[in-house]
Symmetry: C2
Subunit: 321 residues, 2 copies
Amino acid sequence: MNSLETYSKLIEKEISTFSFPLHPQNLYDPLRYFMTLGGKRMRPMLTLMSAKLFQKTEKESISAALAVELFHNFSLIHDDIMDDAPLRRAKQTVHEKWNTNIAILSGDVLFVKAYEQICNNPPHLIPELLNVFNRTAIEVCEGQQMDMDFETRNDVTSEEYIEMIRLKTSVLLGCALEMGAIIGETSIENRKALYDFGVHLGIAFQIQDDLLDLYGNPEKVGKQVGGDVLANKKTLLSILAKSLASVEQQQKLNSLQKETNQKEKLTQTISIFESLNVQEHCKQEMTKHYSHAMNALRSISTNESYQELEELAEYLFHRDY
Amino acid sequence: MNSLETYSKLIEKEISTFSFPLHPQNLYDPLRYFMTLGGKRMRPMLTLMSAKLFQKTEKESISAALAVELFHNFSLIHDDIMDDAPLRRAKQTVHEKWNTNIAILSGDVLFVKAYEQICNNPPHLIPELLNVFNRTAIEVCEGQQMDMDFETRNDVTSEEYIEMIRLKTSVLLGCALEMGAIIGETSIENRKALYDFGVHLGIAFQIQDDLLDLYGNPEKVGKQVGGDVLANKKTLLSILAKSLASVEQQQKLNSLQKETNQKEKLTQTISIFESLNVQEHCKQEMTKHYSHAMNALRSISTNESYQELEELAEYLFHRDY
């Protein structure tokens, strides 16, 4: 994955040369800390690759790429507060290391920093970039709200769940790619195709996450298998299971939520999932979105190769399970 | 104040016709609620008046005016969380009426809504409007952080305090006016004069707030006299007193912070303030900024009358004390 590494290093270098002001220290220290925690930097990579499809250099697309990455990090800082998460990338979250007020405020500043990056583009492109960016930012917030609402609901449908992950995580991939296409000054059709590629890739990736949590190879997944089931977390698996289950199976699934013997809880839940063929249904849904993404990619009209984007998609899905 | 009322009604009407989506309800209900709590709508008024100086209609400047008002409301929602404030305009704050997570997230959406309004302007003006708006948004966050930092510091100077109020509250008035000037496509000199008018008016207004809290007419001020002293809040009065006090007076002021008899605390603090002539020093500082503001206003080169802005400034300062 040599090309991915090259992009990743370029983005990491850009972020490391970012200079936040020294004062007020409590506002900018958290940003210096959080922005260098790492991550795959997949979103800015998508912007760079997308712009390259239309002969734009990394220098021409880096500001839009950084805007997306800064926005992503802003949303992580605020989401971590809302989810009361102690860790992010194995390090303390901002509200844990400092406090909630500082996490709210430094998040807000990071959001503005994203807009500043958009302003570094050619003036005639700024209104279009902003349109996509604003719409996406609102959708990401809507997705986060839906996710929070789902916690206290028992009637979430699989359609609602997929709509939630589309908004919360997938539209930002679409936005990253579309911003590259805007910089590339290409056709509306190409813009839409790249956006669709990102959104459906994102949905497929998120469904894969749900699958890996229960059926993944624990050594490769890097976390406890079945963590979602043990935490009674809503996933596409649990939602599909509920919708397919008989009344008796539904009652059993409900009572398993209160089961304290972890091994018992996991084994019995998996057994019901198996009898309902939930894993297969989930895989079908994932494959549907993955195919949709790849078809959108192949519909792009350009003389450049979209091989890099194809490789990135394959790389993302090359996780054992 | 007929002209002010006309502007205020126009802005109120624009805000009331704002249509936030219905879903997710927990994201948009708080915004419908908060945006109609009222307020003086002074900031959007400044934008409309400023644009009018250069023959621009309200229709041409209303989007920029709303951007400033939406941003202001976003910052209030987040500040109320940080300050743990139960009430805003005599009504429950968003985090009290809903919860902190919803207040963070609906605040974030409101911030994007402000940027959406900026996008409603002529494309060639958007980059300039964004430059001023982004810089201001960052400064407002910096001011809020300084204010939070001051709570645990005992060595805040009057210069630092004025810098804090400049950032936290005054630059947004400058921004509101400058955005009107950008829409008016006027000279850099006029833009700067209007910005300076707003910033110094804002500083003077904030100092007047500190003065009114202790020396205002309780019936007109509408809150308990001396509330800041009783809460040991840092104000320009307390900071100046500390800097002017003898060692003995400093010790007395320190011990008064722990005094539980409210009447005693107030009387003795006022007595020390009087012996140090603190009220007069404060008034001088206020007058200095007010004069600076009015001189900036008078330096504007336009055929239109700036009487409305002069009247607004006079109206703001026509508070009894």
